[in-house]
Amino acid sequence: MSEPHERTVEIVPEAGLHARPAAKFVETANDHDATVKIGSAEDGDEDLIDAGSMIAVTSLGVKQGEHLRIVAEGEDAEEALDALERVLSTPEGKS
């Protein structure tokens, strides 16, 4: 198994990781083969939750300006992180 890749990304959409950006984020996570887990910037590995589950993403309640820690593991982990970062960095209405 490959090493996990990770990055911490600031949430740009005004609504936070909620509504349309959240749905786009979950879809993007599911579009990749890599296993993607997320948490708040302070969360340890054991607190990370499944990025491919809408209720899990909703449960985080991440707001605009806050940071999200994303950990991806698998062959397309880096591509997954790039795509997810794009979702979080795109202001609403521009995607």
Binding site: A22, S53, V62
Partner: protein, 158 residues
């Protein structure tokens, strides 16, 4: 990240009158109106039409069917005077167009005044956190009275 709702908040957000254990309508929009009417009945909604418009506008963006058999339609609107929840459950499930294709069986509605700032996201995330636990979902399926529903949620946020 977000402060949780407390045990005491449950009675205030979701009084027994805003919980219905009768079978709700079988379509998503009718179900949202049904949940809204539970809050209208307790006198907390100032403008029913405006509240409904806000809820349906939110569904237009993307469904509030969050998977795991759960639907949480919600809106932030001045048509409501204070943060309020409603709950019902459907044994057959209602098609919410959720990403996991599971029909929504546990249905919550959240209305928060437009001035409520971050209350809206905090209630939504606290509720979602609670509902991720299987024992909480099982408790809601098993509840026989509105008071049972309140207790399950109080336990879940405690």
């Amino acid at each position: 990240m977000s402060s949780t709702i407390t045990k005491e908040d449950i009675d205030e957000l979701l009084p027994e009158e805003q919980i219905s254990l009768e079978e709700p309508p079988t379509t998503k929009d009718a179900c949202i109106e049904h949940l809204l009417d539970l809050i209208v009945t307790t006198g907390r909604v100032i403008d029913r039409e405006r509240a409904l418009e806000a809820l349906l506008a939110r569904e237009e963006q993307t469904t509030t069917g969050v998977g795991m058999g759960i639907g949480i339609p919600h809106a932030q609107t001045d048509a409501v005077e204070r943060p309020s929840l409603a709950f019902t459950r459907s044994s057959a499930g209602v098609d919410f167009g959720s990403m996991d294709d599971e029909p929504a069986k546990l249905l919550f509605l959240i209305l928060v005044p437009a001035s409520g700032g971050e209350d809206h996201l905090e209630i939504l995330s606290a509720l979602s956190r609670a509902l991720m636990h299987e024992e909480v979902r099982d408790g809601l399926y098993a509840a026989e009275t509105p008071a049972d529903v309140q207790s399950v949620l109080q336990e879940a946020v405690a």
